[in-house]
């Protein structure tokens, strides 16, 4: 097994009176793309938000590069090298595309070569560079959200359902973008419900249900085992092709 970048052990998270995560154990190997699957309400988004410190874990440990960050504040977690792309995208609609990316470039200025690299798979960002992000389409906003996460090199990128509500043509663009990202050895933890999308991208997979990880293994293993798909996800991935 390759070196782990992120490891969750027995993580519990409460939101108000609700006990959402009930002992999550999750391992994210360094340099790969780990997919977090599960039905709605299984706790996938809560897991990402707990890692990011947006919701505090009430028990358990979240170890990033060997250091427990469960009680660390969100800005410190971001500065440690973790980027987050929420399901809502959370772009700053009043700001231009350039300003959105500029804020994400904490070093000060943005690197031109890296921007050219991003424009390579998200050309719309170049076109709309000085355009208010709130006026972009849903797919373009998603591009801004992902570009914001990678405008500087990060050790780990948490991405929550990036293809939700997007047209198939845009999803193809996303697949190309994630392949580009994978080629840079960036570690990605991706929450997704679009099986076809993650099947071609994922290295490892974890399936959640009722606030726990109920299966962890390789994507290849899950892709080939229809019985396991039926058991874990209630349907075969083939049905989504």
């Amino acid at each position: 097994m390759s070196e782990l970048l992120l490891e969750l052990s027995g993580v519990h998270t409460h939101i108000g009176q609700y006990h959402i995560l009930q002992g999550v154990d999750l391992a994210v190997p360094k340099g790969g793309l780990t997919v977090l699957l599960g039905r709605n309400g299984a706790g996938k988004t809560t897991t990402l938000r707990t890692i990011m410190g947006l919701w505090q874990a009430s028990a358990g440990s979240v170890r990033f590069e060997g250091r427990d960050i469960a009680a660390v504040k969100t800005p410190d977690i971001a500065q440690a090298g973790i980027a987050y792309v929420p399901e809502s995208m959370a772009i700053f609609s009043d700001l231009t595309v350039r300003e959105n990316l500029y804020l994400a470039a904490r070093q000060g200025e943005m690197d031109e070569k890296r921007l050219d690299w991003i424009f390579g798979f998200f050309p719309a960002l170049k076109k709309f560079w000085n355009y208010p992000a709130g006026n972009l389409s849903g797919g373009q906003k998603q591009m801004v959200a992902i570009a914001r996460a990678i405008v500087e090199p990060r050790k780990l990128i948490l991405i929550d359902e990036p293809t939700k509500g997007l047209a198939p043509a845009i999803i193809q663009g996303m697949i190309a973008a994630f392949k580009e990202l994978k080629a840079t050895d960036t570690t990605i933890l991706l929450v997704e419900q679009n099986f076809n999308f993650v099947r071609s991208l994922g290295d490892t997979v974890a399936v959640m249900d009722d606030g726990r990880v109920v299966h962890a293994g390789t994507m290849a293993e899950l892709s080939e085992d229809r019985d396991l798909q039926q058991k874990l996800l209630g349907l075969s991935m083939d049905a989504h092709q």
């Binding site: 990011m52 969100t74 929420p86 959370a90 070093q107 200025e109 943005m110 709309f128 355009y131």
Partner: protein, 346 residues
């Protein structure tokens, strides 16, 4: 394609030739002020009177804007309903007396330099005192009630009452006269229109504050962070910025601006009372609601509109003057329920 080498940091300016869809500029609220002013001209009847009323309205609007701008940012960024904002107005005005009363000779001197110097010093002292008070207010009173609007209203109103009583304890219960510096007195005559010098100064200071805020919010990283924080503070944190520090900074700046507004308002009224801040707060709240909570541009426009309507109504239908601001607010909210320039919130 592989990841590029990260080399010298530069700020790129990509070029492209394709025509972009144009974003329609929302001109309608901006047109309200000139349309209102022009509509009032025939009703007022006399051009010199109209000029005097309009400049008086603009001056009053600028002073209200200075007092309200900090509050709208505090609400937009921190989601805090600070009903104690008026305390900073009062404290700012009274803090100015620490300079203006001992240096009465400079105030009464027939020298622009001495007058500007003493008022400038008074403003610096007032903004420092209210900035520090704002910092303490945020730490002790506001911080424990983040996210709890009802408690915010109650505790910040309580804070204002305490501040007013402290003013009474320190400066006494009597009204304190605050004379205008000698060279700020009198009026300039343009044709048949007489325009008070101090009103022109108030317009200039208000415009300077607005332009400075506009530049800071649009041309600096801290300004971008404030605008981003107003929309989605959580995401600003997820990008690695400590929004709590931003909160405190904005609260202190907003308090200091209220202090500046208090000095301007006090010099305009030439009399100080401990309750002067709480008395102006109704108008300040109307302004930030009309403008769109969190919008500095909307606040500026709202302040000018409120003041112009109050002045024109006071002249044309005096009995309606007290209700004019409420009627204006009702009309604006019927047209735009989120205010003139609604701020997008997550």
């Amino acid at each position: 394609m592989s990841e590029p080498n990260v080399s010298a940091a530069v700020s790129p300016a990509p070029t492209f030739s394709e025509a972009l869809p144009k974003i329609p500029m929302d001109w309608a609220p901006l047109l309200l002020v000139p349309v209102l002013a022009l509509l009032m001209l025939p009703l007022v009847g006399s051009f010199p009177t109209w000029v005097t009323l309009t400049i008086a309205g603009l001056a009053m609007g600028m002073m209200i804007f200075i007092m309200a701008s900090g509050l709208t940012l505090v609400f937009g960024l921190m989601d805090v309903l600070n009903f104690g904002h008026g305390a900073f107005v009062s404290v700012g005005a009274f803090a100015a007396t620490l300079v203006l009363l001992p240096l009465r000779g400079w105030v009464e001197a027939d020298s622009v330099l001495l007058n500007l110097g003493v008022v400038g010093l008074a403003i610096v002292v007032a903004m420092l005192v209210t900035g520090v008070l704002g910092w303490a207010f945020e730490r002790l009173i506001v911080m424990p009630v983040y996210g709890q609007h009802l408690k915010q209203i109650l505790i910040t109103m309580g804070g204002m009452i305490v501040a007013e009583q402290m003013i009474t304890v320190i400066w006494g219960p009597e009204q304190i006269p605050l004379p205008l510096p000698e060279t700020f007195r009198g009026a300039l005559i343009f044709g048949d229109a007489a325009i008070e010098k101090y009103r022109l100064i108030a317009v200039a200071v208000g415009l300077a504050v607005f332009v400075t805020m506009f530049l800071v919010l649009n041309r600096t990283k801290i300004g971008l962070l404030i605008r981003a924080g107003v929309e989605n503070g959580e995401m600003v944190e997820a990008l690695g910025y400590r929004i709590r520090r931003l909160f405190v900074g904005v609260f202190v700046a907003g308090s200091a601006l209220a202090g500046l507004g208090g000095v301007m308002w006090g010099l305009y009224k030439e009399t100080l009372t401990a309750a002067m801040g709480s008395e102006i707060m109704v108008m300040v709240f109307i302004v930030i609601i009309i403008g769109g909570l969190g919008s500095v541009g909307g606040c500026f426009l709202g302040a000018v509109l409120v003041a112009l309507v109050a002045n024109y109504t006071g002249f044309l239908i005096p009995k309606l003057a007290l209700a004019s601001n409420i009627l204006l607010m009702v009309a604006i909210l019927l047209w735009r329920p989120q205010g003139l320039y609604a701020v997008v919130k997550r």
